[in-house]
Amino acid sequence: MNRRRDELAPPGLSAGALTDRVSATVLGTRPPRAWWLALGLATLLSLLFLVGVVYVLSAGVGAFGLNIPVAWGFPIINTIWWIGIAHAGTLISAVLWLTRQDWRASISRSAEAMAMFAIVLAGSYPLLHLGRPQFAYFLLPYPNLMDLWPQWRSPLVWDFFAIASYLLFTASFLFLSLLPDLASLRDRARHRAVQLFYGVLALGWRNSARHWHRYQQAHRVLAVIAVPIVVSVTGTISLDLAVSIVPGFHFTIFPPYFVAGALYSGFATVAIIAIVLRALFGFRDLITRAHLNRLGIMMLCFVLVVDYAYLQEVFTAFYTGEDFYRSVYYDRWSGPYAPFYWGMILCNVVLAQGLWFRRLRESVPGLLCLAVIAEIGMWLERFQIVITSTHKDYMPSAWDTVTPSAWDWLTYAGSIGVFVVLLLLFIKLMPAISMHDMREMLHRRKQREADHG
């Protein structure tokens, strides 16, 4: 009984059948109606994003609800939120691969794609945030006649490198793991144009043992590099806040706290994508309840770290004995932004406890709800960190509140649209489930069954 529930793929599924099924989602004639519907809606949303971006770039960052003292707002919140989401992708594809977790096989591709698109969005917000985005390249250490370099003490420079290296890494990791599957699609395609498309992308992959050997080597190297990156990118982002002297930003617990939060929201996103894939392409037997269960367990792990960090933060604030830190908390609890704080507590502390229940984790609507709650909770967490810290910091005379403007909401909602569009196009153009990872997993299972006879 227990074993059946833990089944990661239908028994007796052969490698060939699997490849047929998955490649059919790409090469098959018509995508499902739901796909078109989702694409249409998401395209509308992303057009709104475009409108928002064009407006902000032409009018100025004054379009956002920002002021002095709250000079950071939605663009920073959204950067942290998206980069957090990106993190689970790397963790699944690299760390779980290194630890030989079989259950990662069917979700790793979508997780990597998710990471890729999330990081693109995370990287676009800092540009929108800048007062003069046309000079963003000042952050680069490019050679120039004036001998000007970026300021290495500034966490924003670290941040720039963190996001840039993460983007590079994610892109190469995604592409590398796609190579064998691209070759499979090339071989199965009927149309010349499609053959050419996948053929060029497959870079001449011929499924030879030598290719596989090199692939394994490259994959292993990248995976090993990925482990520190998972920790360092969000850790660095958290330093943007923690290195400052702003009460509410300046906490040493921020790097691990942010990593945990990032992974929590990232696994929630993977869970949402997995549930959508199951429904969209009928992958219920490939992405099983066992997968959902494990994603839920991962979410639970990280949300507990997050909850611990909340507690620790409050403790630190009061243990400092400094009025500045304490009043930030009094304000978070009872000030104008208290609904955001308590909303975060409700999502991430109270409702997240539902993850303890296997029944909820394995139920599709249950996990979907918990995952959406996680996304909202993590966004609220970033909101309350970024907005409430400076709105009441050292000088009472400078205290002020901001109200997010329509452009804030537009660029936020729009970015979700962009993300969904990119993801929908990806699962139509590329195999949504890594065929070679699955075949490897099936192979190992067959071996295990043979061993145990």
């Binding site: 960052v61 000079a71 800048l130 985005p133 924003l156 702003v246």
Partner: protein, 997 residues
């Protein structure tokens, strides 16, 4: 242009033919439209530039319009794009001596306010005035100015100023005007018709001489004076007491105990700058030359004077005379004995005050407020006389402004009776600021020949038959007397930009001298008035220093002729409406000045739209919150205004600020706030009972720059009383660290290390530093919407905190510029090194390098950085400062960059260059920041910390010196001197007794 009309309305040919047929004789018509005599054509004639009309009506920016005008000028120049005529022109090789491009030149001049002169120095670049500073040697300035004088630069370049003569609203010419004037003059001279003049308070001897001349030429001429902010109570009160009107001059440098009776002596009146210097400039107990006077304020509206006082008593305006009478009784002023029991306040408080005044004797002074009735003036001066203060801490002279034949009410009555055939209104705006009961506008329409001369085609300019543009004071030849009578000369620093006329020119034209040279008109007067042979030399030196020596009115000790009258009876309940001048817009003349509109008003910190001040008690009773709109009804007239809850406001008093609610001020000032003059009683009192308040449903969004009013228990502003200071001089430095440590290496300053010290004892919170900084550093105006969002751009702000009970809190000011931290939190977080530490200790912004991450502002604990959220300085921005008003030494910042106080680095560099060129060391005091220079009470010291003997080093050595948030180890270079107040121990004991109850 005809095509425009034809297209829109068509032309009825048949009607035209009928019209032509009905005419006899030769009749010229220029177009079918003229013939049709349609309304559209009339409207077209009215507009000088019909094609610009949509632009004028639309919210085109002032810069935009200037741009359009510049473009049309340039296009006009294009007609010259043909072969140049062969003429000899002289290249600019031999420049006039001492005229260096890029070097500023300074001219002494005068800016009048309410007719009183304030001596200023005008900084010009190549004939373009860019900044006003106080004239250190002028008796009414002592080197300081107020915000209004600072903002005159913006007013000078205001494109909304009147630019043409107008007749019945259409463009007129001076020839046509003079023709009509000539005809009128014949009637006046023949005595058939009567000319009346209406001026503001007028102290100018040359203008007065011209008025006298007019009266000689046309004997029926009457001269009326309209002072919207004063009703002559001071003159009346002194006449009651001394038998003749006298003008009081307070010598606060001699006074030890000062009682301000609703006078706001630091924030209003022609001598406010001098009062601030004398009363507040030396209130430093750690200094050897300290002047520890004691200030008492009884005030009906919280003001900067009350906030700076040692004791402040809120009292409704109508009850102040009763308090003065009870005080006079206690002091034994003759005839007042029966008033002792009539005190509207705690008698014990009054006893303590009386005792203090009696002890100070001749060194005490009582200052009555101009908004108070004559009875209070008589009482106050009787007390001064009784204390022996007359002659020492208060001097009396003849009135500085000569008496006119009547006031606005008299004129209005005469107009109503049809006794005014011609009216010249010189630099006044009675249609806007006359009380509604005078029905001035309706009566003006019945005056056959009315002429308005003013800088703006304002409400009166539109209602008058003729409107003449007036020259700005910075464009004029003129003279005016300072508060002590010193004649100050005004010399133009630029030719009139829009061809305005000076008051003398207009008066001379009325006297029959057309198109006279404005300079000659002033010179002629003084050639006769100044004795001595060598007029030219005398005149030249007077122009150079800005005033004429020996023209101060002599002080004399008046004899007491009468006992003061008993105070008018007042009811002690019911709501009371009070009027006060807007601290920035004054009487409303400055409503179109964006710097002043956006200046946070002291205490309320409100910008743009004003509000009626109500007390917390009244707010509680009526359930009002800030911004809620109410309807105030007085004598059948009502006014809808939002309210502002002002701690310290007398419980039943509602204060309205005059100067807002302009209809025709210009694009900046139109429709900002409500016109409180409408409710004023006809006889010009500044307080009235019997007002009703009705709460309306809606709210107004007010733009205040400070949302939180207490210090949240943080010791940002440190203050104590004298007794505590003497006991514990180091109270301001509770945990001073001698050798602070840091992870970062120490800086090395071989040359200079600039620093600033701000004395909280002296700061009176007048906000002049804010406007001075704005003028010096090209700080943009952002508008009410942006201020509401918290995006004001001022580099220096004056924080105001309340402490103590809501109904009568103590009030404190703290100017906050950039701290220029030694270990600046902003510096290390900037990813592009756009903010850096200079070799002289400044924390500098490099605008070119800034990409706008705003991390520096996030990490600034003092929140002194300002960000260009939009392109506020763009030519098409709604409130862009005209380019001509910019200081050429300071970069104009564009969108997306951070900015903040630079310690006026351009001034530092200029002074250093000068010193280097002259091969001498830079001297202490030679270099002053804009905020320091403007400060009337010299609260700001700036200088080199490497120089142990510099004033700023000495200030920082004081035990009162402390750094804000020093526990953060930012090591600010701007530090504060903690405040020490000098309260009366008797009253302190009284308050301590009352506190538990």
């Amino acid at each position: 242009m005809s095509s425009i009309i034809a297209r829109e309305h068509g032309t009825d040919m048949a009607a035209l033919r009928r019209k032509l047929a009905g005419r006899s004789g030769r009749h010229y018509w220029r177009s079918l439209e003229e013939l049709a005599d349609s309304d559209d054509f009339q409207r077209l004639l009215e507009e000088e530039f019909p094609r610009l009309a949509p632009l004028w009506e639309g919210r085109v920016s002032r810069r935009g319009l200037l741009g359009l005008m510049a473009a049309s000028l340039a296009l006009g120049g294009l007609t010259g794009c043909k072969p140049q005529p062969e003429e000899r022109i002289a290249p600019y090789t031999r420049r006039p001596e001492d005229l260096l491009p890029g070097r500023a030149r300074w001219y002494a001049s005068t800016l009048p306010l309410d007719g009183y002169a304030r001596g200023v120095l005008v900084k010009t670049f190549q004939g373009r005035p860019v900044k006003v500073e106080g004239n250190p040697e002028h008796p009414a300035s002592l080197g300081a100015t107020d915000s209004i004088a600072q903002a005159e630069i913006l007013g000078l370049y205001d494109p909304d100023r009147s630019q043409t003569i107008r007749y019945q609203g259409t463009a007129g010419s001076d020839a046509a005007f003079l023709e009509q004037l000539q005809a009128q003059r014949r009637h006046w001279a023949a005595g058939e018709r009567r000319l009346c003049l209406l001026t503001g308070s007028l102290t100018s001897p040359s203008q007065h001489a011209l008025i006298e001349r007019l009266k000689r030429l046309y004997p029926s001429t009457r001269w009326y004076r309209h002072e919207p902010l004063a009703n002559g109570a001071a003159r009346q009160g002194t006449r009651q007491l001394f038998g003749e009107p006298r003008e009081a001059r307070y010598r606060l440098d001699r006074a030890r105990v000062i009682l301000d009776l609703d006078a706001d002596m630091l924030g209003s009146g022609p001598a406010k700058l001098v009062h601030a210097r004398h009363a507040m400039g030396r209130r430093r107990p750690d200094r050897e030359d300290a002047l520890l006077n004691r200030l008492y304020s009884v005030e009906s509206t919280p003001s900067i004077t009350g906030a700076s006082s040692d004791h402040r008593l809120p009292l409704a305006a109508a009850e102040v005379p009763a308090l003065a009478a009870a005080l006079a009784a206690r002091l034994g002023v003759p005839g007042m004995a029966d008033q002792a029991e009539n005190s509207p306040v705690d008698p014990a408080w009054l006893d303590a005050l009386a005792e203090d005044l009696r002890r100070a004797g001749a060194k005490a002074v009582v200052i009555p407020g101009d908004t108070q009735p004559a009875a209070l003036h008589a009482l106050a001066h009787a007390i001064n006389h009784h204390l022996g203060a007359a002659g020492t801490s208060v001097e009396y002279s003849a009135p500085v402004a000569p008496a006119a034949d009547g006031d606005l009410a008299d004129l209005s009555r005469a107009m109503g009776e049809g006794r005014v055939d011609a009216l010249l209104m010189l630099n006044v705006n009675p249609v806007y600021n006359a009380p509604a009961g005078l029905a001035f506008e309706e009566r003006l329409a019945r005056v056959p020949f009315s002429v308005h001369c003013g800088q703006y085609r304002d409400e009166t300019g539109r209602a008058a038959l003729w409107h003449l543009p007036a020259a700005h004071p910075l464009e004029s030849w003129d003279d005016a007397r300072a508060f002590d009578g010193t004649v100050s000369l005004m010399q133009p620093t630029i030719v009139p930009l829009f061809g305005g006329y000076t008051a003398q020119q207009v008066l001379a034209a009325f006297a029959g001298r057309y198109r006279a040279d404005p300079r000659e008109l002033v010179r002629e007067h003084w050639r006769q008035a100044l004795p001595g042979a060598d007029f030219e030399r005398h005149w030249h030196s007077a122009l150079q220093q800005g005033w004429i020596d020996g023209t101060a009115l002599p002080a004399s000790l008046p004899t007491l002729r009468n006992t003061p009258p008993p105070p008018p009876p007042t009811d002690r309940d019911g709501l009371l409406l009070q009027w006060r001048a807007d601290p920035a817009l004054h009487d409303g003349h400055y409503a179109n000045n964006g710097w002043l509109q956006e200046l946070p008003r002291p205490l309320t910190q409100l910008t743009w739209d004003g509000a009626a001040l109500i007390s917390p008690a009244l707010a509680e009773r009526e359930g009002l919150s800030e911004g809620q709109r109410v309807r105030l009804t007085l004598a059948g007239r009502s006014l809808d205004t939002p309210v502002w809850i002002q701690p310290g406001q007398p419980a039943r008093a509602i204060t309205l600020f005059l100067g807002q609610g302009r209809r025709d001020a210009g694009r900046v000032g139109n429709g900002v706030g409500v016109n409180a003059y409408r409710l004023m009683p006809d006889h010009g009192a500044f307080a009235a009972g019997g007002v009703t308040l009705e709460v309306l449903g809606d709210r107004a969004a007010l733009a205040s720059t400070q949302q939180h009013h207490n210090m949240a228990g943080r010791d940002l502003l440190r203050e104590t009383d004298l007794a505590h200071f003497q006991e514990e001089p180091g109270f301001a430095q509770p945990d001073r660290v001698e050798e602070p440590i840091s992870l970062y290496p120490e800086w090395d300053y071989p040359d200079h290390a600039w620093g600033m010290s701000i004395d909280l004892n002296s700061c009176i919170g007048c906000n002049a530093c804010i406007t001075a900084c704005q003028a010096e550093n090209n700080i943009p105006i952002v508008g009410p919407e942006e201020v509401r969002r918290g995006r004001e751009m001022h580099w220096i702000r004056v924080d105001r905190y309340y402490a103590g009970p809501l109904d009568d809190p103590s009030m404190h000011f703290q100017p906050v510029p950039c701290m220029h931290c030694e270990k600046a939190p902003c510096e290390y977080v900037c990813p592009v090194e756009a903010t850096q530490h200079s070799s002289e200790g400044l924390n500098e912004m490099i605008y070119n390098r800034c990409v706008g991450t705003r991390y520096c502002s996030q990490n600034c604990p003092y929140k002194v950085r300002r960000f260009n959220w939009y392109h506020y300085t763009e030519a098409t921005a709604e409130l862009a400062t005209p380019a001509a008003a910019h200081n050429p030494d300071v970069t104009v910042r564009s969108r997306g960059v951070m900015e903040k106080c630079t310690y006026c680095v351009q001034r530092i560099n200029q002074a250093e260059t000068d010193a280097r060129n002259e091969d001498r060391p830079l001297e202490d005091g030679e270099l002053r920041t804009a905020c320091q220079q403007v400060c009337p009470s010299e609260a700001i010291e700036f200088g080199d910390l490497n120089d142990r003997h510099s004033a700023v080093s000495r200030a920082k050595a004081s035990p009162l010196n402390y750094a804000m948030l020093e526990e953060l180890n930012t090591r600010p270079r701007t530090t504060y001197l903690a405040g020490v107040r000098n309260p009366n121990p008797a009253i302190q004991a009284l308050e301590a007794r009352e506190a538990p109850a």
